[in-house]
C-alpha cells in the first residue's frame, strides 16, 4: 500500500489496510504450503525446500498493516522471529525475501540468514531470533536518524512474552531518556510458545509499563486494524515531531501454532481460534459499509496471489548458494582463518 502520514481513515486507506492484510495472509499460506510440501509423510524440520523453524504470522496482520501504513521505506523497522507480516507491510521486496526464506543465493542475505534473519537495507528492515534483542538496534537507527536532522522514525516490534525480557526495559528507558524517535509495538497474541500471558506477565497491560518510563502507552483491544492505525498514527507523528517514543500494545491473535509443527495441545481455545480471524471480519465490515465489493475483494486476493506466487517461483528457481562460498561474508574483507 502507499505509505501515508495521514491519520484520517479514508476509504482508500481502509482498502489499503485490508489489501496489506490479504497480501500477508496469502504469503503466509503459500509459505506454509511450501514448508510442508516436502515434509510428508514424516515431518522432518530440517528437510525440504524450506527447512528450519517457521514462525508464521497469520492473525497478526492488523498490527503490521496498521503500523506500517504510517511508514515509508526510509523509516526503520526491527522485527522478531515472526517477521513476515511486518516485512511485507513495510515494503520489503517479496522476491529476495522469499529467496532468503528458501535459502537461495538471490535472497536478501544470499541464503546466509534465513527466515529469522531478514536484512533489507533498502527499507531499513531487520529481524532477530533472540527475544527482545531487536529493540536496542532500533534505538540506534532512531539515534542516527535524529542526529542527521531527519524526521525518520524506527519501529521496534516485539511479542508480549518478550516484554518481560531485560532488553525491553533497558530499551524503553534509554529511548525515553534520550527522546529517540522510536515506536515500540508489542504484539500480544496471548501466547509465548506454550506459556499464556497470565504465566509470563505480572500486569494486565504493557501500556501500564510505559508509564514507568514516562512515555505514552496505549493498549489496542480486539485486534482492530483501524484502532492500530489510529494509535500508530499518533505515535509515529509524535516521534517525527521529536517528542520521543511511545508504546502500543495490540491484543492480537496467533491463528496458527507458535511454529509450524506445533500441535498446540496446550491451547484450550484451539477449536474456536479460527472464528476470530481478523481478515474476514474486516472484509465484512468494509463490504457492509459499501467501501468494498465482492469483486474488488476478489481482485485484491488475485493480485496478492500473483505477487506471492511470483516470489515463490523466483525463489524456487533461484540457485542455491555455492557450498564453496561457505567462508565468505564473515568480515567485509574475507574470512579470518
Amino acid at each position: 500500500m502507499t505509505p501515508t502520514h495521514s491519520q484520517a481513515l479514508t476509504d482508500d486507506i481502509r482498502r489499503g489496510l485490508l489489501d496489506t492484510m490479504v497480501l500477508i495472509r496469502t504469503y503466509e499460506e503459500a509459505i506454509r504450503r511450501e514448508y510442508y510440501a516436502d515434509k510428508q509423510p514424516a515431518f522432518d524440520i530440517g528437510a525440504g525446500l524450506v527447512p528450519g523453524e517457521m514462525h508464521l504470522s497469520a492473525g497478526q496482520e492488523p498490527v503490521a498493516a496498521g503500523v506500517c501504513a504510517h511508514l515509508t521505506g526510509d523509516d526503520a523497522l526491527t522485527a522478531t522471529h515472526r517477521p513476515h507480516h511486518v516485512a511485507i507491510a513495510h515494503g520489503v521486496a517479496l522476491r529476495p525475501m522469499t529467496a532468503e526464506i528458501f535459502g537461495r543465493e538471490t535472497g536478501l542475505g544470499h541464503g546466509r540468514g534465513g527466515h529469522m534473519h531478514l536484512f533489507d537495507p533498502a527499507t531499513h528492515f531487520s529481524c532477530s531470533g533472540i527475544i527482545a534483542e531487536g529493540l536496542p538496534p532500533a534505538l540506534g537507527q532512531a539515534f542516527a536518524f535524529s542526529r542527521r536532522g531527519s524526521d525518520r522514525v524506527a519501529v521496534a516490534v516485539t511479542g508480549e512474552g518478550a516484554a518481560n525480557q531485560g532488553a525491553f526495559h533497558e530499551s524503553l528507558n534509554l529511548a525515553a531518556l534520550w527522546k529517540l524517535p522510536v515506536v515500540f509495538v508489542v504484539e500480544d497474541n496471548d501466547w509465548g510458545i506454550s506459556v499464556p500471558r497470565s504465566g509470563s506477565t505480572s500486569v494486565a497491560s504493557n501500556a501500564l509499563r510505559a508509564a514507568g518510563y514516562g512515555m505514552p502507552g496505549v493498549r489496542v483491544e480486539d485486534n482492530s486494524v483501524e484502532a492500530v492505525y489510529a494509535a500508530a498514527g499518533e505515535a509515529v507523528a509524535r516521534a517525527r515531531a521529536g517528542e520521543g517514543p511511545s508504546l502500543i500494545e495490540v491484543h492480537t491473535l496467533r491463528l496458527w501454532g507458535h511454529f509450524e509443527g506445533d500441535a498446540e495441545g496446550y491451547r484450550p481455545e484451539l477449536a474456536t481460534v479460527a472464528e476470530h480471524d481478523p481478515i474476514p471480519r474486516y472484509r465484512d465490515t468494509l463490504l457492509a459499509a459499501g467501501i468494498l465489493t465482492t469483486e474488488s475483494y476478489e481482485a485484491m486476493q488475485a493480485s496478492a496471489v500473483t505477487k506471492v506466487e511470483d516470489a515463490i517461483d523466483f525463489a524456487r528457481n533461484s540457485a542455491t548458494p555455492d557450498p564453496l562460498g561457505h567462508l565468505g561474508y564473515v568480515f567485509s574483507e574475507g574470512a579470518h582463518t
Partner: protein
C-alpha cells in the same frame, strides 16, 4: 562405561543387548530427572515451556503430569531472572534443574551463569554451594540459522567454576544427568538436538538405545572409548561421536583402525584418556561441532602437546571454521563436521 575391548567391535557399549529396554536420549534424561525428583523433593525443574509443552526438545516431557506445576515450572522469557532464581534456591539447599532453551541464548543471561552460579562457591571460600543443573540444547544441521544452531561448549568450558557435560547417547545422558543432579557443583548439561531421538528431526540411529531402569551414575570427567582402534585417534563428543563411529566402521573395511574417544565432559576434561589414546596412535583428529578457534579443539591438541609434543605425528581439526552457522542447507553442511569431512581427515592423517 565399559570400554570396547577390541578394535573390531562394532557395537557401541550403549547398544542394547537383546531384549533390553530402549529409550531415546530425551526419555533417558526425563527418567533421570523423575527418579531424582521421586527421592528428593528439593529437586525442581524450571524453564521456558518445560511444563505442558514438555520442553521444546522433549527434555521434560511427562514431568508436569507426574510432579505438577509446583515442581515443574514454566517461566516468563526472562533467563536472567529465572536462572538467578535457580541460583538463589540452590544456595538455600534446593537442587534446581533449569533449562536454557537453546545454548545460543546464553548472551542474555551469562552474567548469572558465569559470574554467579560458577563463582559463588569460590568467592565464599567454599562456604556456599550451588548445586544446580543448567541444561541446554545445542547444535545445528536443520537450517535453524546463526542464532539457533550453535554448540558453544567451548565458551562455557573456558570460564571456571562450572562442570560442562555433553552426552552423546541415551545411556550416558541418563547416568550423567543423575550425576549432575547429585553433585554439589553447578553443571552445564548440554544436549545436542541430534541425539535426542526426536520424532520430528532427522534421527541418529543411536539416539534410541538400551538404558537400565534403575538409577546409575556415569561419572563426570571420564571419557569413554566409544570404539577402540590403533591407527588414528578421533577425540569428539555429542552428535559427532556417531559420525565418527560411522566413518570408523566404514574405514575398517579398508584396514584403517580408528579409535573414537567420546569426551562426555569438557570440564573436567579427561586429559589422561586423550594422551593415552594418542600415545597409541600418534595421529590426532579432533571432531567438534563448536567453532574451531579458541575452543575445545585447540585445548585437546594442547593437552597432548603439553604432555609430550613428540607423541603427535599428525594433528587435524574438523570443526566449524569460524563462521556463523549459515541457514542454507548446502552452506550449513559445508561448515558442519560431516562424515565426509571426517573421513577425509582420517585419510589425510593416514597419509602422514
Amino acid at each position: 562405561m565399559t570400554d570396547a575391548s577390541s578394535p573390531r567391535r562394532l557395537a557401541l557399549p550403549t547398544e542394547p543387548a537383546a531384549g533390553s529396554r530402549r529409550l531415546s536420549t530425551a526419555k533417558a534424561m526425563q527418567e533421570a530427572i523423575a527418579q531424582r525428583m521421586d527421592r528428593d523433593d528439593s529437586v525442581f525443574v524450571m524453564g521456558e515451556d518445560v511444563g505442558p509443552y514438555g520442553g521444546i526438545f522433549s527434555s521434560t516431557s511427562g514431568l508436569i503430569e507426574r510432579f505438577g506445576p509446583d515442581r515443574i515450572l514454566d517461566t516468563p522469557i526472562s533467563e536472567t531472572a529465572f536462572i538467578g532464581l535457580g541460583i538463589g534456591a540452590a544456595v538455600e539447599g534446593m537442587r534446581p534443574i533449569v533449562e536454557l532453551m537453546f545454548a545460543d541464548f546464553f548472551g542474555v543471561c551469562m552474567d548469572q551463569i558465569y559470574n554467579h552460579m560458577a563463582k559463588i562457591h569460590y568467592e565464599s571460600g567454599g562456604n556456599v554451594r550451588v548445586p544446580m543443573v543448567l541444561m541446554t540444547a545445542t547444535g545445528g544441521g536443520y537450517s535453524d540459522g546463526a542464532q539457533h544452531s550453535q554448540c558453544l561448549w567451548g565458551t562455557f568450558a573456558h570460564l571456571p567454576g562450572m562442570k560442562v557435560v555433553v552426552p552423546s547417547n541415551p545411556y550416558d545422558a541418563k547416568g550423567l544427568m543423575t550425576s549432575a543432579i547429585e553433585t554439589d557443583d553447578p553443571v552445564i548439561f548440554m544436549f545436542h538436538k541430534g541425539i535426542m531421538g526426536l520424532g520430528w528431526m532427522k534421527k541418529n540411529r543411536r539416539s534410541v538405545a538400551a538404558v537400565p531402569e534403575e538409577e546409575y551414575l556415569v561419572p563426570i570427567g571420564k571419557a569413554r572409548i566409544a570404539r577402540a582402534g590403533t591407527d588414528v585417534t578421533i577425540v569428539t563428543l555429542a552428535l559427532s561421536v556417531h559420525h565418527s563411529l560411522d566413518v570408523a566402521e566404514k574405514l575398517e573395511a579398508e584396514g584403517i583402525s580408528v579409535e573414537v574417544l567420546d569426551l562426555r565432559s569438557l570440564v573436567p576434561l579427561d586429559r589422561e584418556a586423550i594422551v593415552r589414546s594418542v600415545a597409541k596412535t600418534g595421529r590426532l583428529i579432533v571432531v567438534d561441532e563448536d567453532y574451531q578457534s579458541f575452543g575445545l579443539s585447540g585445548e585437546v591438541i594442547a593437552a597432548v602437546a603439553e604432555h609430550d609434543p613428540t607423541l603427535l605425528r599428525s594433528v587435524t581439526r574438523v570443526a566449524v571454521p569460524d563462521v556463523p552457522i549459515p541457514y542454507a542447507h548446502q552452506l550449513e553442511y559445508a561448515v558442519l563436521p560431516t562424515p565426509a569431512r571426517i573421513e577425509a581427515a582420517v585419510r589425510d592423517a593416514m597419509a602422514t
